[in-house]
């Protein structure tokens, strides 16, 4: 228990002193996860909305697949991206393995199913309400899609936040494709894993506190959005 309180004191000290190493790790984590979520949103939002609005053979299969991919283990995604980017893989010549870019790619793949599957559900529910009116106005799925995304914007923001939660919390994918290299690809979750196994709890605990704070703010933002939306704006 003494080690815990000592570690806690040191952790708070690191945070309060804006320790350079700590800040570098937090910065890279945010850069990787925010980039991944941005990419995933750009792909997942239209993809999910299209799945909700278009009818085509195999649609049911795609939907089940997407829902299943939401629970995809990060280590598996990491492994796939590793194989694709490794020296002997199809994109090996690009030399991306063990770079932040590789980490962004892996997390993007991890978040796309979450954003797309949640978007599909949200837009499908909204379409049930809108479809007659929009069809009456002459809007087919293609014309309706941007309007549906815009009208679902508050709910969809929570879907994107859920994606950010997943990206910032995962350790398996970034560990495999990033390699946890000091000052290069070291992020909060991989540092926690490493430092804990080394028995150096202060840094791990400080990063843990940051992750908890991050999770709280993300969920707080989602909650505030839902309340704003409930007041009739969405």
């Amino acid at each position: 228990m003494e080690t815990f309180s000592t570690a806690m004191t040191m952790a708070v000290g690191l945070l309060a002193g804006f320790d350079a190493d700590l800040m570098e790790i937090i910065g890279l984590s945010l850069r990787v996860s925010l980039s991944a979520v941005l990419m995933a949103a750009l792909i997942g939002l239209p993809l999910g909305a299209a799945l909700a609005l278009y009818r085509f053979p195999g649609r049911g299969l795609v939907m089940v697949g997407l829902d299943a991919l939401m629970g995809l283990p990060p280590v598996v995604v990491g492994l796939v991206v590793y194989l694709v980017l490794s020296r002997s893989g199809p994109f090996g010549v690009m030399g991306l393995l063990f770079t932040p870019t590789a980490m962004i790619m892996a997390q993007t793949l991890l978040v796309i199913p979450i954003v797309a599957a949640l978007t599909r559900q949200v837009v499908e529910d909204l379409w049930a309400e809108y479809s007659e009116q929009l069809r009456s106005l002459g809007a087919g799925p293609g014309r309706a899609l941007p309007a549906m995304l815009w009208d679902a914007r508050f709910t969809l923001t929570t879907a994107v936040l859920a994606g950010f939660g997943r990206a910032s919390a995962e350790v398996g994918a970034v560990m495999i494709v990033g390699g946890n290299i000091d000052h290069v690809t070291r992020v909060m979750t991989t540092t926690i894993a490493l430092e804990t196994s080394k028995g150096d709890l202060a840094l791990a605990l400080a990063l843990g506190l940051v992750l908890i704070a991050l999770s709280l703010s993300v969920n707080g933002a989602a909650h505030a959005l839902r309340r704003h939306a409930a007041r009739g704006f969405a």
Binding site: E132, Q133, S136, L137, G232, F233
Partner: protein, 255 residues
């Protein structure tokens, strides 16, 4: 008086359109779901001119008939056909207002603008038309208000303004005042009257006899998915042709 003349003149012009898509012909139309014939054997023609009120008890198939006419549903058998060389554009020449208005989550003005954008109306024309219909429906003051924050009556007026902006040759209204108080109902009826004066053909469902009497030129009476009669309004309310309509008017129809 001048305004009334202008409106009447505009009405004549619209009705005289050489490339009209009217009359709308409904031929032996049936709509079947799970073996139930919800609409059956309907033959009906909507020629340019009169306001038709589709009347009938709950579950008679009034809303279904409107959706079939408007093309939101395809008949299981039979045909719904528009006429003339422009029949292919019928989709753009008609509009529908629903019992519960569906408005986009944006301002009142933007809701009207969106409908015009779908019709590929040029930006400056969209501005002019939007201002015009919002003023005509008494919504100019709430043009920037999010549509979902408007009152029920204002929302339905906005749905009418949006339909009006499209300058439809045919307007279907599915119980547009069912959820509204008397003042809002009167406002909606007045707007429909103005659109009619500008030459829009009106087909509206209601189960409100008073409203039917105020608005109808002719009445199409539906019962259990079948068209019992289509009769001039004054004649319908005094001497309906079918026993079912007579019972409905007495408030005795069972279904």
């Amino acid at each position: 008086m001048k305004a009334a003349n202008d409106l009447a003149e505009a009405g004549v012009q619209a009705a005289d359109r050489a490339d009209t898509i009217l009359p709308l012909a409904v031929k032996d139309v049936a709509y079947v779901i799970d073996g139930k014939r919800l609409i059956d054997g309907i033959d009906l023609t909507f020629a340019a001119g009169p306001r038709t009120i589709v009347l009938g008890p709950n579950g008679a198939g009034k809303s279904l008939l409107l959706r079939l006419c408007h093309g939101l549903l395809q008949p299981s058998s039979g045909r719904v056909t528009w006429q003339g060389p422009s029949a292919g554009e019928a989709r753009q020449r008609q509009a529908m207002v629903f019992q519960k208005p569906v408005l986009l989550r944006r301002s009142a003005r933007a809701n009207v603008d969106y409908a015009l954008k779908l019709k590929k109306v040029a930006r400056e024309d969209r501005r002019r038309i939007t201002e015009d219909v919002l003023a005509r429906t008494g919504l100019a003051a709430v043009a920037e208000t999010p549509a979902r924050l408007l009152s029920g009556g204002e929302q339905q007026k906005l749905a009418l303004a949006r339909a009006w902006a499209l300058q439809p040759e045919m307007l279907f209204l599915d119980e547009p005042t069912a959820h509204l108080d008397p003042a809002a109902t009167a406002a909606v009826e007045a707007i429909v009257g103005d659109m009619r004066a500008q030459g829009t053909r009106i087909v509206m469902t209601t189960h409100d006899l008073g409203q039917a009497q105020r608005m109808a030129d002719e009445v199409a009476f539906l019962h259990k998915g079948r068209l019992m009669e289509t009769t001039q309004a004054d004649q319908f309310f005094d001497h309906p042709q079918s026993g079912e309509a007579a019972a409905f008017l007495r408030g005795e129809l069972r279904w």
